[in-house]
Point group: C2
Chain length 716, copies 2
C-alpha cells in the first residue's frame, strides 16, 4: 500500500516536473515584440568554446572602440553594439573588436576608409575589416555611425562573420518615411494592429518607453522620418496642445535620425484660425500658415514638413477656391521655407461614371510639371488606382521630369487580407521600382530612377499590438520597406532572407522554405482575390472579403462592378485606344507592351482589356477557364503554405509557430471564400458552367452577397 502510494506520488511528481518544463519554456515565449532585433546567439558560440584565459574586465574585451565625439546618437550606436554583441556572442573571446569612427577622426592608414564616403548623402557608412582584424564602422556623421552599427549587427547575423568585410552603404533616397494613418483618438484607418502606437493623451508629460523601441526599429532599417497622423487630417494636430505633444516625440526620435512630419488639413486656417477662407492666394491665409509653421519650428527645429491630401475623397483643398494643386503646395512651401518639405499627394479622382478613374491623377498633375517649388515633393501611389494586389505602375512616374517625386506604397494590407493573410510585399515593391517607365534618355528610366530626389513613403502597419504589425510576417513588410527605401536595388528575396534569419531562425532549411513561401505569397493573394489583372473587387467600406457584385455605391468608381465590367459579352476594362485609352498615358514603348491581349503579360490582362469569356489566353484556356484556374491556383497555394509552415515547426518557438499556423488556417478559408464568391458571381454574369474539374461553390450567389461583417477592423 505504502509502496504503491509512493510510486504513484513519484509518478505524479514526475508529471508535475514535466509540466514545469513546459511552463518554463512558455515563460520565455517569444511574442514578436523584439522584431528583427532579437540578436539570437550565433551558433558555435557555445560555452565550451569560450576561452577562460580572456580577461573579461579589460576595455578591449568590451568590443567597441570610439573615434568620435560623444553625442546622444553615438551613445545609442555604442549601446546597440554592446547589446547586440552581448547577445550574439556568448564568449568575450569571440566578440569582434569594433572601431566606430567619424571619417574626420581617421588618419594615417585608416584614412583610406574615408574615400568612398566623401560627399555622400547623410547616413552613409562603410564597414570594413582592417588589417589588424578590427572591424571598422566609418561615417561622415553620427547617424551614419548608428546606421553602420545596425548594418554590422545585421551582417553578423546574416552573412558569415568570418569573411573579410568591405561594404559601402549609401542611401538611395533622401526621404524614407513612414506614413501613419493614425487619428488623435488612437483609431488607425486601415489599421489591423491594435490602436495607434502614439499615446497622444499622455504626451507630453509621459513618453511611452515603447517609443524608443519604435525609434530603434526604424533606425535599424534606415527610416529617417515619420508622418504621425492620418492624411484625412484632424485640425487638432496643429493646435498648441498637440505641437507640445509632437515636440516630446521629436526630441525622443531625433538621436535616432528620425524627423517628425504632420499631415495637415488644408482648411485649417478656417477651423483653427477663424478665417473665412483657405484660399492659398489669400495673403491672410498664407500668413496664417507662415505663423503656424514658425510656431512649429520654434518647438521642433528639424520638423520635417507637411503631408497634404487635398481635393481628394472629400478633403478640402485649393481647388475649392479655383486654385491649382501647385498654388496650394507652393503657398505651404513658402510658409515652411528652407526648413522643411511639403509632400503633396497625387491620389485624386473625381466622381464620374464616364471617365476612367485611373486616368484622373495623371490628367490633373501632368500639366503642373515644373510648377512646384523646390521643397515640394509629389507623392504618388505605386499604381493609378489604390494599392490593389497588382496594378501597373503609376503613369506619372517619369512623366514629370521637372518635379521631385516620391513613391507611396502600403505596408498595411488593406487590400491583401489585413494582418491575417501572409503576403510579403517586397516582391510587389521591387516589381514597381524596377519597372521601366520608358521615359528618359534611351527610353530607359525605372520608377526607382524617378524618385531619387524625393524618396519613398510607406503607409505603416504599426500599431499597439505587442507584435507591432498585427502578425509576425507583417513585420517583414515594415522591414522590407525600410531596406528598399535605403537601397532600391536590393532583391525581394535577399531582404526576405535577412528578415527571416534575424526574426526567426538562421537554419538554412528554414530559410530556404520560408523565403520561397514569402516570395510566392503576394502572387497567391493576387490569384485568389483579383487574378488575371482584375482589381478593386472587395466588399464595401471595411474591404473585408469579396464583393464583385457591388454596383450601388454613392460614387460609381467605388463599385467593383465598374472595374470588372463583367456581363454576357465578357470581362475586363478596355483601357486601350478603343476604350478609355489609359494606356496612352504611358510612354509608347511601354504602352505597346500592354496593347495586344494575345501577347501581353497576362498579369495585367483584364486591367487593360475587355475580352469575351471564350477569348483564348496564352495557356490555351479561355479567359473564363484561366480565371477560375488562377483562383484555384491561389487557393491551392494557401494549402501549400500551411503544409510548408507545419514542416517548419521544429525551427520556430511554439507560440509564434502557433500564431502563424492559426492565421494560415484563416487565410486558406478566406481564400476559398474569395474564390467561391467571385466564381459564383462571374459564372452568373457569363451565364457559363464551371470549367471542367472546377469545384462548385458550396453556396449560391445570394448567400455570399448576404454576408455582413459590421465588426471588421480598420474602418473607423
Amino acid at each position: 500500500m505504502i509502496g504503491r502510494k509512493l510510486s504513484e506520488l513519484a509518478a505524479q511528481i514526475a508529471l508535475a516536473g514535466l509540466a514545469l518544463c513546459a511552463f518554463s519554456a512558455s515563460a520565455q515565449a517569444e511574442d514578436g515584440y523584439d522584431l528583427w532585433l532579437r540578436y539570437q546567439p550565433l551558433s558555435g558560440a557555445s560555452q565550451s568554446l569560450c576561452d577562460p584565459a580572456v580577461d573579461l574586465s579589460g576595455p578591449v574585451a568590451q568590443g567597441v572602440q570610439l573615434q568620435a565625439q560623444r553625442s546622444a546618437t553615438v551613445d545609442i550606436a555604442v549601446a546597440e553594439l554592446h547589446r547586440g554583441l552581448a547577445s550574439l556572442f556568448r564568449c568575450e573571446s569571440q566578440k569582434p573588436t569594433i572601431l566606430l569612427a567619424r571619417t574626420d577622426q581617421l588618419s594615417g592608414k585608416e584614412a583610406q576608409f574615408s574615400e568612398g564616403l566623401r560627399g555622400q548623402m547623410a547616413g552613409s557608412y562603410r564597414l570594413a575589416t582592417m588589417a589588424d582584424g578590427r572591424i571598422l564602422i566609418a561615417a561622415n556623421d553620427d547617424i551614419g555611425l548608428l546606421y553602420g552599427s545596425f548594418g554590422l549587427l545585421r551582417h553578423l547575423q546574416t552573412d558569415s562573420a568570418n569573411q573579410k568585410l568591405d561594404q559601402l552603404a549609401i542611401p538611395a533616397l533622401p526621404l524614407r518615411l513612414l506614413n501613419h494613418w493614425d487619428n488623435p483618438d488612437r483609431g488607425v484607418e486601415r489599421g489591423y494592429s491594435g490602436e495607434s502606437i502614439f499615446d497622444w493623451w499622455h504626451l507630453p508629460d509621459h513618453l511611452d518607453p515603447r517609443m524608443i523601441d519604435y525609434a530603434r526599429a526604424n533606425a535599424s532599417i534606415g527610416i529617417n522620418g515619420t508622418v504621425v497622423n492620418n492624411v484625412n487630417a484632424s485640425p487638432i494636430m496643429l493646435t498648441p496642445r498637440y505641437i507640445a505633444k509632437l515636440q516630446r516625440l521629436a526630441d525622443a526620435f531625433r538621436p535616432y535620425g528620425i524627423r517628425v512630419y504632420l499631415s495637415v488639413r488644408f482648411s485649417s486656417p478656417r477651423e483653427l484660425g477663424g478665417l473665412d477662407s483657405a484660399d492659398p492666394l489669400d495673403p491672410k491665409v498664407a500668413a496664417w500658415w507662415k505663423s503656424k509653421a514658425d510656431e512649429i519650428y520654434a518647438a521642433i527645429p528639424d520638423f520635417g514638413g507637411f503631408l497634404v491630401k487635398a481635393n481628394s475623397e472629400g478633403q478640402p483643398g485649393p481647388q475649392d477656391y479655383g486654385r491649382t494643386h501647385a498654388d496650394g503646395a507652393n503657398m505651404l512651401a513658402t510658409a515652411i521655407g528652407d526648413r522643411g518639405t511639403v509632400i503633396w499627394r497625387a491620389f485624386v479622382y473625381q466622381s464620374s461614371a464616364e471617365t476612367d478613374r485611373v486616368k484622373l491623377a495623371y490628367e490633373e498633375f501632368k500639366p503642373l510639371d515644373g510648377k512646384f517649388a523646390d521643397n515640394v515633393i509629389l507623392q504618388v501611389k505605386n499604381g493609378p488606382l489604390d494599392f490593389q494586389p497588382r496594378e501597373p505602375f503609376h503613369p506619372l512616374f517619369g512623366a514629370m521630369p521637372h518635379t521631385r517625386m516620391m513613391l507611396e506604397v502600403q505596408q498595411t494590407k488593406e487590400y491583401l487580407g489585413f494582418a491575417t493573410h501572409l503576403a510579403y510585399l517586397g516582391t510587389m515593391w521591387t516589381e514597381v521600382l524596377d519597372a521601366n517607365t520608358g521615359h528618359g534618355k534611351n527610353g530607359h528610366l525605372t520608377v526607382a530612377d524617378t524618385i531619387v530626389s524625393g524618396g519613398m513613403a510607406g503607409v505603416s502597419n504599426i500599431g499597439s499590438d505587442r507584435n507591432w504589425s498585427g502578425s509576425h510576417f507583417d513585420q517583414a513588410n515594415w522591414y522590407a520597406f525600410g531596406r528598399l527605401a535605403w537601397d532600391t536595388s536590393l532583391s525581394a528575396d535577399a531582404i526576405a532572407r535577412e528578415w527571416a534569419a534575424q526574426t526567426f531562425s538562421r537554419n538554412p532549411q528554414f530559410l530556404n522554405v520560408t523565403v520561397k513561401m514569402m516570395h510566392d505569397s503576394r502572387q497567391a493573394v493576387v490569384d485568389y482575390m483579383t487574378p488575371l489583372g482584375l482589381a478593386h473587387q472587395m466588399a464595401t467600406g471595411h474591404h473585408y472579403g469579396p464583393g464583385p457584385w457591388v454596383n450601388d455605391l454613392e460614387r460609381p468608381e467605388w463599385n467593383p462592378a465598374y472595374y470588372n465590367r463583367a456581363d454576357k459579352s465578357g470581362i475586363g476594362f478596355d483601357r486601350t485606344k478603343n476604350g478609355s485609352d489609359a494606356l496612352g498615358q504611358y510612354a509608347p514603348s511601354v504602352a505597346s507592351g500592354w496593347s495586344d491581349p494575345h501577347t501581353m503579360d497576362e498579369d495585367y490582362l483584364l486591367w487593360f482589356q475587355h475580352l469575351p469569356w471564350n477569348f483564348r489566353t496564352q495557356s490555351g484556356r479561355t479567359v473564363w477557364e484561366e480565371l477560375v484556374a488562377r483562383y484555384d491556383r491561389g487557393v491551392a497555394k494557401t494549402h501549400e503554405m500551411q503544409r510548408e509552415w507545419a514542416a517548419l515547426a521544429p525551427y520556430v518557438d511554439a507560440q509564434r509557430y502557433q500564431d502563424v499556423a492559426d492565421d494560415l488556417k484563416v487565410q486558406a478559408r478566406e481564400a476559398q471564400w474569395w474564390r467561391d464568391a467571385s466564381v459564383s458571381y462571374f459564372a452568373s454574369r457569363c451565364e457559363c458552367d464551371l470549367p471542367a474539374g472546377a469545384t462548385a461553390p458550396p453556396h449560391d450567389l445570394q448567400w455570399y452577397e448576404a454576408l455582413n461583417f459590421p465588426d471588421a477592423p480598420g474602418h473607423k
Copy 2:
C-alpha cells in the same frame, strides 16, 4: 600624442561601458505586465546561503507533492507553484516542500486538516504547516487547490515564511465577477487602458496568449467570472459567430475557475430573431430566448448567464411593453433555468427636473422585492447616483430582504481621474461594505451582509495596455476588488500592503509610505473634485475635468448644476424631509444620522443638505470657507504624494518610478484645475470673495468654461 589618444580612447570606452550598464538595466525594465505576480526573490535567499549538498534532481527537491487526481486545473496549480517557488527561492535547499491535496485524499493524521473545509463554498482552501514541516494546501475541489496555491505564494511574499501557517480561506460571496464595458469593435466605454483585452476579430481561430495571463491574474485573486461585453450591449454578441468566439474564451478560462457571462440587449429577439416584439410575456419571445440560451449552453455548458441593463439610459427593456423588471428578469431566468444566473441591473433613472434622481432606483425596485426568481440577482451600484468619488451607500441594500443582491463597484476611474490620477479605491469599497444599512434584526446589517447570496461585480479597468490597467497603481484596484470579493472583512490597508509588496517592493520603509499614500489617495480626489458631499460636477460626455456650471444638457439630471444647486442662497441638495426626502429611503436609524447638518458626518453634508454659504460647519469655518479649504487640502495632498513618491525612487525600478512620477505631476496639475474652476464658479454663485488666505484662480471663470477636449479617452 599616442598616449593621449589611448587614454582618451580608454575614457571613451569606459563611458561606453557605463552606457552598456544603463542599457542592460533597461533591458530588464519592468513594464507592469507581470502585475502582482512578479515573484521577486525573497531576501536572504542569496547564492551564498545555498546548500550545495542538496540534491537538485530528486523529486522532493522540486517542492511540490500531489495528492489529487491530475486535471487541467491541478496542472495549472502545480505549474504556478513551481514558477513562484523557482522565482522566490534561489536555492533548492530553501524551498519549502508543499503537499497539494484534495480533502478526500487526506487520511490518518492528515485528515484533521479537512475539518474546517467540510461543506464550505467551492474554492475554499486551507493552508497549514504540518508536523513534518511540509506546507499543506488542502481543498475539496481543484479550484480550491488553485486558489490555495496562489494564496500560499501570496503568503510567502507578504508574511514571514518562517511562521507556522494555519489559514482557512472561505470565499465570502458566490459570484465574484468582472464586468467589462467592452464593445465588439474593441472600444471600451470608460476605458483608459487601451483597447479591449479581448481580440474578438481573431477568435475563435486564434487565442491571444495574453488570455492565459488574464486568467491567471484573476484566479490569483479569486475572481470566478467575467462578463465580457458592455452593458450597453450589441446584439452581435449573441450571434453564432460570436458564440463560437466566446466558446474559445470559455474553454481557455475554465481551468482557472472563471465562467464567462454576456451582457444582452433586451430587444435582441427583434434585431436578431426578426420578431415584432421583445415583450417578455410573449411566448414567442420567451421561446426565442430559451432557444438562444440552449444554443449557448450547447457550446458552453458552464456559461454563467446574462447581465442586463434595461430601461436605463435609452436601453430597451420590459417597460417598453408595460411589463416590470421582474417580468423581464424572470423570463430570462426561465430561459436559462438552473444552468446559470440572470443579473439584472438596478441602475435606472427617469428624465425629470422635478424628482430627485437618487430616489428613482429604490422607487422602481423596492416594490419588486420577493418577485424575482431564485436564479435572478439584482446588481446595485455602491451608491444611488453613479460611481461618484463619494456617495452614501445605495438605499436598496437591506431594503429587499427577499431578493438576491449584488454590489457593483467601478474599478475604472471614470469619475476619479481616469488612469492618470492615483486613487486607491479599496478604502471606498470597504466604506460601503462596512456601512450599516440599519435593517435586519437588531438594526444591524452591513452592506456586505446583504450580498452574501449574490456577490460583487467590478467594472473592469483592464485593457490592451501593457500594464493592463492604464497605470501601475490602477492595478491595485483590480487586485483590491478581487480580495474584497473573496473576503469582505479585509481591511483596505492590508490589501494595499499585500499588493504593494508583491508589485513593487517588500521594503518596510517603502511599504509604510506607499500604503499611507494609497490610503489617503481616494479622499484627496474627493477633496479636489467634489468635497463636502458634492457630487457629479464633471465636464460633459467624456467626464474629463470640472464642469460645475453645466446646466444645459438634454436631461436635467445630467447637469452638474442640478446637483450642486449653488445660488445666492446657498449650495447643496436638500434630501431631508424638507426637500426630496431621499433620506426617507434609509432605515430610520441611518437617516437620523444624516438629518442634522450640525452633527452629521460632513463627508455627506451637501449630499443631503442645502445650506447657506455662511452656515457654520463643525470646524468653525463657514460652508464656503470649508469648501475652499477642502479643495485646497486635496490639491496639497497631490503635492505631498509627489514628494513621497520621489523619496521612494531607490526602492522602485527606473521605468515604473518614472511612469508614476509623470502621472503624479499631471494629477497635481489637474487637481489644481478642478479646484480653480470650481472655486471660481462657486464664488460667482455665492457672489463671495475668496476666504482669507485662499489663492485666487489664475484665470477667470469664462476661461475655464471654454476649455474643450474632444480627444479625451473612454467616451466612444
